[in-house]
Symmetry: C2
Subunit: 458 residues, 2 copies
């Protein structure tokens, strides 16, 4: 790992069990599983049929990691995706056909000489984690290559240039992390890579994708952030599916934007590709936690049928990335609520160059707060109004409250997510040179983050 | 109107038109509409058939209000619901049968002597508003009785005891408004009313419903907040449907809780009844903006088929309301985001007795902020962690970040909405007498606001 901003994070296993290790050669399978594999004479690479409570599944037996669940076999299905199968008491394994011994190293040489290259830039998070079932802790994958090695069919599609930039849980991301990711992706795309995959913790993935969207101007190919809601060694992990789908999307889709790719549903059958400025984590734990808000996902990657494009996307080009990573850090994001102290708003405004408010409904706050906002704007603070409803568009023209806010100089956030407006305001304050240019930047669609107002129909 | 905290609000009409008033007797219909009605010899109370762009509709021609859209006829359909029909150029009206002249006054005497009584306690908002199409301004209804008069079939079901407590847009609601509504509803229910309907602005209706839920202990019958996303004289208004459905729900459902009743979809066919502690406005403008989060609506009121109960509800009883309206106002609600200033958190903590944080994912914040939280808690501030994902449950046991927060003394908000946790913390700080009782109150389900943790499955 090239470096680390913070100590290694540890995660407690959700179903910790102290496994007795198999006496023999097989690494840390439970005795029962090791004995069953031995009885069946099943070896890594063999096509096996497993009968367990979950039914009958056939696939190639995959290598077992040091930290893997001792009761779980990982099968590679015909579709190319990995499935973890728990071998409970009474489950059985049968070899369908012996595998050829796969050469696992060197992987890259298996690809044809002129194969296209995909960059993988690791940043940490659950996707790059293994639960140590003996201690219950989560270890980040030792390297991005290790992570990609869990999906070996990727190297049949392209060359992978994997690197861990840092490894942190995403709640600790700051502006400087976004800047480093932007620089690393720009560097890879300028070197001709066909796309960049950024494994990332899911907690703040939507903030990072918005930041990269604005920082990476004139993007020639795609940057795809991927995460997992289950660490990559768990039977139900969404890591493999998301990594393989992201690779396919970078290679096959004529797309050159920043996206977030995550499971489309709770079953392991397809992924949604969300525009980086429109996506929000809308569930604490489900695999389909990520949703496009006020727009549909731009594409769907069906794990069997391939890619379906759902909306217009900026196509690939030979442009050079125009890196614009400057950000004003004195910006705040607040939600208005009844009983909110206007004094705390006042003290924010004194320090900040910009404030994004998630108001109620069409973009409202109390009459008390409007007075404070007026003062803040007079003092040089830029105030943008979004809605805590998340869905829909602010409209400051309907009620007196909105018209008072407009008169005070508040900039309407249109149908932008409050989080995206926050990121955009940080960026716009650092990348514009006049009040007029700043206002115009905020209400103009730059990266699909807002849409043109249409007549509201009755 | 009994009083008013703020000046009358004005709303700009979305489709203002300057109508030439009909010369004759018919009040402020446009000349074209007035002439068409005159040609057809159609009068209020007649069953008419209207052919317009929207198709053919049959219903009883309803009275036209002083501030109504001059091009819109209001028809009462067989289902009892009102429909506004725009009479564009070329549309025609035909009388199907002449109506008996209905006695509009006195309404209440039409009900049988012993009829059950429903209290209507007006607080303002779009539901009680009429757009003045000549000026584009919205006027609050002159009285709650005027509002109920737009749905005359309610007086066939029950007696209405209507009163305007105040008339404000709901972004201006404060703790003292919640307290006054709680007192007024407790008073009416203690007098034996079968239920209370509270017309309310939609912007902060979810906050008020949560506040009433906690303030009204041992509720014998239901308090139903209703709102409208379109003012009551617009063709597409959801006001009638919601008012009538709320009346039916109070009369017919064996329920004794605080609810929000709003349209279930964008068509005018049914309403959802949401538990007051689980509901959130999730769209700026759609009629089905209100959603139950982490629970399903408790009931559906189909405008044709009646009430369907969808989950268990506290039944009616003869208990006396135990009013517990005390609230600690020194409480804040904040969302954590990357780049958040820990200094501003520190200054909040110095002033506040309680802070609810909408963290990322399972309930996380940056390592920097954890230090500040530790200090705040040591200084006596109560900190509750919810998730900005809204859907799902916080879990502070999975990652180190969460375990550090627990060690610091943070109270997990389980699957409570951040807004509900904010209201509950205000209430709990004022209604408990020890740290231990406060913590236990926050993690115990009192009004359906949180659900028991279950094993997370893989």
């Amino acid at each position: 790992m090239s470096d680390s901003f913070l100590p290694v994070k540890r995660k407690k296993g959700l179903s910790v069990r102290m496994a007795s290790l198999a006496g023999g050669g097989r690494m840390n399978y439970s005795t029962r599983v090791a004995e069953e594999l031995s009885r069946a004479r099943a070896k890594e690479g063999d096509m096996v049929q497993v009968r367990s409570k979950g039914g009958e599944r056939t696939g190639v037996l995959m290598p077992h990691h040091e930290f893997s669940d001792p009761d779980v076999l990982v099968l590679k299905l015909k579709s190319g995706y990995n499935l973890g199968v728990r071998l409970e008491e009474g489950a059985s394994v049968k070899v369908v056909s012996k595998g050829e011994k796969k050469e696992r190293h060197p992987r890259h040489q298996r690809s044809s000489e002129g194969a296209r290259k995909i960059a993988v830039i690791g940043t940490g998070g659950t996707i790059a984690s293994y639960v140590d079932y003996r201690t219950g802790a989560v270890h980040p994958a030792l390297s991005a290559e290790d992570l990609m090695a869990t999906v070996p069919e990727i190297s049949d599609l392209c060359q992978i240039d994997a690197k861990v930039l840092f490894s942190i849980f995403s709640e600790n991301m700051r502006v400087e992390h976004w800047q480093r990711i932007a620089e690393a992706t720009a560097d890879r795309l300028s070197s001709g890579d066909e796309g960049c995959i950024v494994p990332h913790g899911t907690d703040t993935m939507g903030y990072t994708s918005a930041a990269l969207s604005f920082m990476l101007d004139e993007l020639p190919r795609s940057v795809v952030l991927v995460g997992a809601q289950r660490s990559s060694d768990r039977p139900s992990s969404d890591a493999y599916g998301n990594l393989l789908a992201a690779t396919r999307f970078c290679l096959e889709a004529d797309a050159a934007e920043v996206f977030v790719l995550m499971h489309a549903g709770i079953s392991d059958t397809s992924a949604s590709v969300h525009r980086g400025t429109r996506v929000r984590k809308m569930h604490t734990s489900r695999r389909d936690a990520f949703q496009s808000i006020n727009s549909s996902p731009v594409a769907k990657v069906d794990f069997e049928k391939g890619i379906e494009i759902l909306s217009s996307i900026k196509p690939k080009s030979s442009s050079k990335v125009n890196l614009r990573t400057a950000m004003e850090v004195k910006v705040s994001l607040i939600q208005f609520y009844p009983g909110m102290s206007t004094r705390s708003f006042g003290s924010l405004a004194k320090d900040d160059r910009g404030i994004v408010i998630a108001g109620t409904g069409l973009g409202h706050v109390s009459a008390d707060l409007i007075k404070e906002i007026r003062k803040a704007i007079a003092g040089g603070t830029t105030v943008v109004m979004c809605s805590q409803c998340l869905h829909g568009r602010v409209n400051l023209n309907v009620y007196d409250t909105g018209r008072d806010l407009l008169a005070a100089g508040v900039i309407p956030g249109e149908d932008m997510l409050p989080e995206t407006a926050y990121i955009k305001l940080m960026w716009a304050l650092a990348n514009t040179s006049s009040e007029k240019e700043l206002r115009s930047t905020m209400i103009t669609d730059l990266r699909g983050e807002l849409s043109q107002r249409r007549e509201i129909d009755d």
